[in-house]
Symmetry: C2
Subunit: 377 residues, 2 copies
């Protein structure tokens, strides 16, 4: 059925970055490795496990490097992502998301025979459906009950509703109740440090109350998972969370770069490692340059990309295959020049590309397939 | 190097739509065919050729159906799109966009040996580079000079600058000067009918002035191309354009649906044929349903998608793999229910998917690969 093949990679190993075809998704390997190390170092000795979110990179090569630095496994959002990760050798994957529908649950149940697998629930009928699928496949899955600690997306209210679902999981054949999914996505992007900390604390308080009720009901919750790039240090110190799922920290983006540190300066703990390489394709007008990376090369859902390393250059508009950059200096940027953009939002940007072009010392060191690109089912 | 394979299609031919896995990109074949017919019919007898823009669909199956209804060929934005189209049998492709850089021009020049090919220029050094590549490959290409008629993106000012470039093309080895690219992208989305008509007329006037100057200079411009789904009827009646490049009309989207007709009612000439099929994955809260199609399944650059056929349901927020739908009626939408979304912007939505699931009479009739997905180079 695969009547189309993947696009060729935009580079070959050993090539100077200047020769990479555009648009291309670059990862600065030094910065990536420093980010991976910084996360591990910042949690050394903390009573938490790390289970990074693979939805950000969709790339088994990066998952392997996270696990090599101590991660217990990874998490992801979809069955097809989990399949890709498991088939590339990742042995411990939590789908921190609800999986609904018979065909997906059949695949989930089969996959649970190949790896340690977790899944998230927020509905009793869904719990029964997951259980039936597992029984049919003769497999077992770890189950997290999701509580809504402020994201206002999936999850039941913290408190008795969660206990009711946990009991149902514990009683259902071929399900193992392992704990709570308590991810506060909105808190990640609260700009001021103290406000972000307060949001994280509120989520932890709601989670703690639910854990107390679970204990009262005699239900053990060995896993309490949540946290993202914006709050994971608060979550690690909460005494509530014991598994953290940051994802964007490997790459960073414009949106995360707007978060502020304690001193009201932009956070700098993680570095930008992800860039879109693009070529100036038009300089017909003095006040603007047009580049060849638009809505099909980077996601603008969280705002426009930032032009990296060019003073007085602002990316102001994107159409399908164009980016318009307004220039203070009409002499800046010449036709054919290659520049890099910092994506507004890393995760959906990565999902547009088939290849990560890995760069070090201005040279292409490796090409990593974004193996789970498009794996949204 | 293709260390990852394409995701499997979300359906098999003959399956009821209710069994299609989600998220999936559906095309209603009846609506698509009516749109294809409506465009052809609306231009019957008009002194214009149709060359639809393939960047919207990236799908040779649709290009073939456009040509079968009288299109002279298609246009596209990138060399890699043109390669895909030509290798799937499309013999006449204009890249209505500037192509910059030696590796792309080498590929363009080779491809020009396999099909009738056009390319667009707005810079004299680029003209020389295109010519050199063609000479090296021993091929010839049709060249359009782009003028900026209001889009403020690529293109030189209408008038003498365009004549200067046209002369340079005409004098360059292995280039054929064929005319002007004069696309007014902004005019497509001007909401009121009379305002949209006025924008299109202003673009036509600038183009006519440039054509007069070209004629004074003894330069023939047999092709004057532009127009989109929003203005093509105005452009057809302008007496200036003789080739039109609408793209979105095959699918339509929320944004185009906001354009108004002469009576200030929403335009209805083309029908919505493109939908994202999605499953309700959480109903934990009475006021909202969460679906499994987020930023990785549809593009929100032009606004949120519209929930199709469900009264009182508003898609208000998207994260990577979730859509939050607020409900007036807490009893609307049940867990596991499949619904369809009208994408905010069709082109970048299509580019996220590998397969078009073709539906008729509530059944999957065909699966078309989106052969040029990701072909942004």
């Amino acid at each position: 059925m695969n009547a189309r093949s993947l696009p060729d990679p935009p580079a070959v190993v050993g090539m100077p970055v200047a020769d990479v075809d555009t648009p291309a998704l670059l990862v600065d390997l030094d910065a990536l490795e420093r980010n991976l190390d910084a996360l591990a170092r910042s949690l050394a000795g903390a009573p938490v496990r790390v289970r990074p979110h693979a939805k950000s990179h969709k790339c088994p090569e990066i998952a392997r490097r996270q696990i090599a630095r101590g991660a217990v496994g990874v998490c992801c959002q979809k069955v097809s992502e989990a399949e890709t990760l498991v088939h590339h050798g990742i042995g411990d994957v939590f789908i921190v998301n609800e999986i609904v529908g018979a065909s997906k649950l059949d695949r989930l149940a089969r996959l649970a025979g190949e790896a340690r697998l977790g899944v998230t629930v927020d509905d009793e009928h869904n719990i029964d459906a997951v259980s039936r699928a597992m029984v049919a496949a003769g497999t077992t899955v770890d189950v997290l009950v999701e509580i809504d600690v402020g994201l206002r997306r999936c999850g039941v209210e913290p408190g008795p509703d969660a206990v009711r679902l946990a009991r149902r999981v514990a009683d259902a054949p071929n399900l193992r109740f392992v704990g709570l999914q308590a991810y506060h996505g909105r808190a990640q992007h609260v700009r001021r440090y103290e406000d972000r900390q307060a949001s994280a604390r509120a989520a932890a308080d709601l989670t703690r109350r639910t854990l107390d009720l679970l204990a009262d009901a005699g239900l053990q919750a060995p896993v309490v998972t949540g946290g993202g790039t914006g709050t994971y240090l608060f979550d690690a110190a909460s005494g509530v969370y014991n598994e953290l799922q940051p994802g964007s920290y490997v790459f960073m983006d414009v949106d995360y770069g707007l978060n502020l540190d304690r001193d009201d300066e932009p956070v700098s703990f993680f570095e930008q490692s992800l860039f879109v390489l693009t070529t100036v394709m038009s300089r017909a007008m003095p006040d603007r340059a047009v580049v060849d990376a638009g809505l099909k090369s980077h996601s603008v859902d969280s705002g426009m990309p930032r032009v990296h390393g060019v003073a007085g250059a602002r990316f102001t508009r994107a159409s399908d295959e164009h980016g318009v950059i307004e220039l203070d200096d009409p002499g800046a940027l010449s036709l054919g020049e290659k520049i890099t953009l910092v994506p507004g939002h890393c995760d959906p940007t990565v999902n547009m590309h088939d290849w990560l072009v890995c760069v070090r010392d201005n040279q292409v060191e490796d090409l990593w397939p974004i193996a789970a690109r498009g794996a949204s089912r």
